[in-house]
């Protein structure tokens, strides 16, 4: 063995040892530069080849190239190993306590009254109704007179009004919308009119001076009381479920004739009797009836040619029933804990 071969042997041994002892990527890189770099030992050996006797050059050259290949392979293998080890270490360092709480982005919520009206609108839309709106500051004429409630009518007692002037008041019901719609629209039409109303009532769990109603009205040729029943039955079943039963009984409103009161079987006790339904098994939902001929006439509609039905319900009350709320004042109070539940 020539001295050159012996030297190559010891370089190989040393290089392989250094590769195997390198315990991080940086040291490995240093080893790589030391042996395989541009000015590294292997290149030095190749440069020294010119001093080797010509007959030995092919053999020595082959050995140097073999060494180069072997070292490259070993370094690559080692690098893969070290990289894998470092990745494992990094992943370990990135470990999270997955039981820490998540970071929540704020999500806005809708008010329960909005949720209810959107549901009600959806149901009535399916029945061919559309939404209209009216004014909250109304004249005595639209709020009472035009609805067949003259100034001396006892029905005014239950609708004590907040007056702004002698003739202007905060509407006590959404029914003025009936007149305003008739003045603008020729039949046929089917509308619901949700809105805010005001009555001079002491605030209690059941009464609020500011509350909301949903008015409904349909006018066409040959609309019948049976159509009123069918419409309200469909509404009640869509909102409260197919299992509820419904009931119509006679009632009195100055602007409908005949008038009725619509009730559903108590959704809390299933009609057995509980405090919500005052142990009657029935919950009153709304007042309704066939539009009074005088009201149609006021609206410029001939009661011989056309007929119609109308209804009015407590919007807050629907929300109270739907969500089991027992104090109407919660809706305008907006307590964060209340609102967070919708």
């Amino acid at each position: 063995m020539s001295p050159m071969e012996l030297e190559l042997g010891s370089i190989r041994t040393e290089a392989l040892r250094e590769v195997s002892t390198a315990d991080n990527l940086e040291t490995l890189r240093e080893v790589e530069v030391k042996y395989l770099g541009r000015k590294g030992i292997v290149n030095q050996l190749l440069k020294g080849l010119k001093d080797v006797p010509p007959e030995q050059r092919p053999e020595i050259g082959r050995l140097i190239n073999e060494l180069k290949l072997e070292l490259s392979r070993e370094i690559e293998t080692k690098r893969t190993l070290l990289e894998e080890r470092e990745k494992v270490k990094r992943l370990e360092e990135e470990r999270l306590d997955v039981t820490l709480p998540g970071i929540t982005l704020p999500t806005g919520r809708l008010h329960p009254l909005t949720l209810i009206i959107e549901r009600v609108e959806e149901i009535f839309k399916g029945l061919g109704f559309t939404v209209v709106e009216g004014f909250e500051i109304e004249s005595d004429y639209y709020n009472f007179e035009a609805l067949n409630i003259p100034w001396y009518h006892p029905a005014r007692d239950s609708q004590d009004s907040f007056y702004i002037t002698d003739k202007l008041l905060l509407r006590t019901q959404t029914s003025p919308v009936q007149i305003r719609v008739m003045e603008k629209t020729r039949p046929p039409f089917k509308i619901i009119a949700p809105g805010r109303v005001y009555r001079r009532d002491q605030p209690t769990a059941r009464h609020s001076p500011v509350f909301h109603q949903i008015e409904g009205m349909a006018v066409d040729r040959d609309i019948t009381f049976a159509d009123l029943k069918g419409t309200l039955d469909a509404f009640a079943h869509a909102l409260f479920g197919d299992e509820v039963s419904t009931r119509f009984r006679a009632d009195y409103f100055p602007f409908t004739e005949p008038s009725g009161e619509f009730a559903i079987s108590c959704i809390f006790c299933k009609g057995e009797g509980c405090s919500v339904c005052s142990y009657s098994g029935w919950i009153e939902i709304l007042g309704c009836g066939m539009v009074h001929p005088k009201v149609l006439e006021v609206g410029g509609i001939d009661p011989e040619e056309y007929s119609g039905f109308a209804f009015g319900m407590g919007w807050d009350r629907l929300a109270m029933l739907t969500y089991g709320v027992n104090d109407i004042r919660f809706f305008l109070e907006n307590h964060p804990e209340f609102l967070a539940q919708f």
Partner: protein, 672 residues
């Protein structure tokens, strides 16, 4: 109206459980609100609708029961007694307010306590026993619905006159109150002065006492509108006025008086004098046209003419049939029935609403789309929800202390609207701005211990301008505390957080200019401009106001959303995505620190006009490396042309133009 079952049964021949009577009455429109067992008897509390004055008596309810169950009514026998001696002269000067008046003189009676059975009955229905005479008048009123009044005849001077009061005339009523009357009030007077407020309450002076020997018993029919007006203006409601204002049966005036006389003779003794009566025009109910075919068509029913006629007969109505068009005459006590439709209600009420089928009217109607404001509101709600704001709905009334807060928003003279008859101070002023209500809510939230909130309301505001009452729809937002919070990251409410939400909500179409609001922080408030008009404001609540309300930093914004059409919020026609390469260019601008950043942004927009797709201000910096009095603004620009690939040269050309433009405002571009 309290009804004793045993008393009711004296008037109607019925033998069904009381529960069933209660249930049928309720279904027919006379709601039995309470149902109570008293020993062997039952007490019903019936709610009488405003149009059913005829039901304010045992007789009235008995008539209903008779019609509903088709059982005979039992009327009391015609009273018989001997008239001896004189009466008291009467004179009715206002027949328009008193179509019928009777007065019966009874002398030599003995006033004393009522017998036990009478006292018990009155007490059961909630009436305090006074003496036998007064108790009898109350008893007959309850039984027949006719209010009666007994005067001490010896206190009456001369004849009895029914007339309007003189303005300012006074009377002390039975309750001891001095009442001041006007010409709109009807009184019963003697030749000196009023002795009773007609239909409402008697006078103290002529009250029947235990010393009374001779009485004058009044039974009359007063105009319902007049009694109601007097009762309201005096603030005095009595059992009598309640009945008169809903209308009492003009046909029963004398009969009721005679029944009472008979009872008085039996329980108090005495001799009956002549009846004085005024009843110039006898009331006859008018017949009403009724078309059975139209009835069935309107109700969706198929009742036979026989079914219909039988209902009328049960109600005591007279039917005159002439094939298709009938004439139906209601009874004298059913003054509520004047139209054909009123008769429809009677029929369905008696046969039962449950007999009407349930159908759907399916014709397509004329109006089909909701008003634009309805849709606009929905879009805004959804957008604000996704921006992290929750909806509230507050009262239209605001605490008086916030009456004029943020009022600088209105540049013309406006007044807040007050109700003239508030219940309480809290329900007297209508909000002119939602911010007033939201500020009040913020106070409550903090008081309840909730300091972090991001809330909005879409609602009406009210104001008066040039004698005109105006309602407008506004959007109000209030924000405070932490917006995003966790163990890791936090974002607090701030002017810019709120402004950012508005920019997103309104498609970056708003501009903001500093503005003065006395309730807002002077350095942190702005008007919101859209299309050159001030449409709202934004700002931090003034620290002085925050301190006095015990509030932390509160940010408020309010916008008149009627300034934005529905189309503004709706997605219009869309454009194709630009697939040409995008160039990113970051620039740092150094300008004098008093420069409004909007000026720099305007210059950038102008310089890169046509190729500026988007820009972001990512850094605002003052301090080392930046000259004193200057501020560094770092912008990241997204540049892209619509029709060509942008070259670096073109961009650099614009950047060098930017340098010139910045020099004009004392700024420069900072090289990296």
């Amino acid at each position: 109206m309290k009804i004793l079952y045993s008393w009711l049964k004296e008037f109607v021949d019925i033998d069904v459980p009381c529960e069933e009577i209660a249930s049928r009455l309720t279904m027919a429109g006379l709601e039995v609100e309470e149902f109570e067992r008293i020993g062997e008897d039952y007490l019903l509390d019936v709610s009488i609708p405003a149009n059913r004055g005829d039901c304010h008596s045992i007789l009235g309810i008995a008539r209903e029961v008779s019609a509903l169950f088709n059982v005979p009514l039992k009327l009391p026998a015609e009273p018989k007694f001997l008239e001896v001696g004189d009466g008291i002269d009467i004179e009715v000067l206002s027949p328009e307010l008193c179509p019928r008046y009777t007065l019966r003189f009874i002398k030599g009676i003995k006033v004393g306590p009522s017998p036990g059975w009478l006292r018990e009955r009155l007490e059961a229905i909630g009436i305090r026993s006074i003496n036998n005479v007064v108790d009898i008048t109350n008893y007959v009123m309850w039984m027949l619905g006719q209010p009666l009044h007994a005067f001490d005849a010896d206190k009456i001077s001369g004849k009895v006159i029914v007339r309007r009061a003189y303005d300012g005339e006074e009377i002390v009523t039975l309750d001891g109150e001095k009442r001041r009357l006007t010409v709109n009030d009807l009184v019963i007077a003697d030749e000196r002065h009023p002795i009773a407020v007609a239909g409402v309450m008697g006078g103290e002076e002529s009250e029947v006492s235990f010393f009374t020997k001779n009485i004058a018993l009044e039974s009359a029919c007063f105009d319902h509108i007049s009694v109601r007006g007097t009762s309201k203006s005096l603030g005095l409601r009595t059992e009598a006025s309640t009945r008169f204002e809903k209308g009492v049966d003009i046909g029963i005036t004398k009969f009721a008086s005679d029944i009472a006389v008979e009872m008085i003779l039996k329980l108090c003794g005495g001799e009956v004098g002549r009846l004085s009566e005024f009843y110039p025009v006898r009331y006859e109910p008018s017949p009403i046209r009724f078309r059975p075919e139209r009835f069935n068509r309107r109700m969706g029913l198929k009742l036979t003419t026989g079914d219909i006629e039988s209902v009328f007969v049960r109600l005591g109505f007279k039917v005159d049939k002439d094939n298709d068009i009938w004439q139906v005459t209601p009874t004298s006590y059913r003054r509520d029935i004047s139209l054909e439709e009123d008769l429809y209600e009677e029929i369905v009420r008696i046969v039962g609403y449950d007999k009407i089928p349930s159908t759907l009217h399916e014709r397509i109607t004329g109006v089909v789309s909701p008003p634009p404001e309805w849709e606009r509101r929905k879009i805004i709600r959804r957008r604000l929800n996704s921006l992290g704001f929750s909806e509230v709905i507050t009262s239209s009334f605001i605490p008086v202390q916030f009456d004029s807060s943020f009022g600088e928003f209105y540049r013309e003279q406006v007044e807040s609207i007050r109700v003239i008859n508030p219940l309480r101070e809290e329900e007297s002023v209508l909000r002119t701005l939602l911010s007033q209500a939201l500020l009040n809510l913020a106070v409550n939230n903090v008081r309840w211990g909730y300091n972090d909130f991001s809330l909005f309301e879409i609602g009406k505001v009210f104001f008066k301008r040039d004698k005109e009452y105006i309602e407008k729809e506004h959007l109000g937002i209030v924000q405070s505390g932490r917006f995003i919070y966790s163990w890791d990251k936090e974002i607090d409410a701030s002017f810019f957080l709120l402004k950012g939400a508005l920019e997103r909500l309104f498609n970056d179409k708003l501009s903001f200019v500093p503005a003065y609001y006395s309730a807002l922080h002077p350095g942190r408030s702005a008007n919101i401009i859209y299309r050159g008009e001030i449409v709202g404001f934004i700002g931090e609540l003034h620290p002085d106001m925050a301190r006095s309300l015990k509030l932390p930093r509160i940010y408020l914004a309010e916008i008149d959303i009627e300034s934005f059409s529905l189309d503004f919020f709706k997605t219009g026609l869309v454009r194709e995505p630009n697939r040409l390469p995008k160039l990113k260019r970051d620039i740092a601008v150094v300008v004098p620190e008093e420069t409004q950043s909007i000026r720099v942004i305007e210059i950038i927009r102008e310089v890169f006009d046509g190729i500026l797709e988007n820009y972001e201000l990512f850094d605002v910096y003052k301090g080392p490396n930046i000259p004193e009095g200057m501020v560094n603004l770092g912008f990241s620009l997204d540049l892209r042309a619509k029709d060509r690939t942008l070259t670096q040269e073109e961009v650099e050309e614009r950047v060098s133009y930017l340098k010139d433009r910045l020099a004009n405002i004392g700024g420069r571009l900072r090289e990296w």
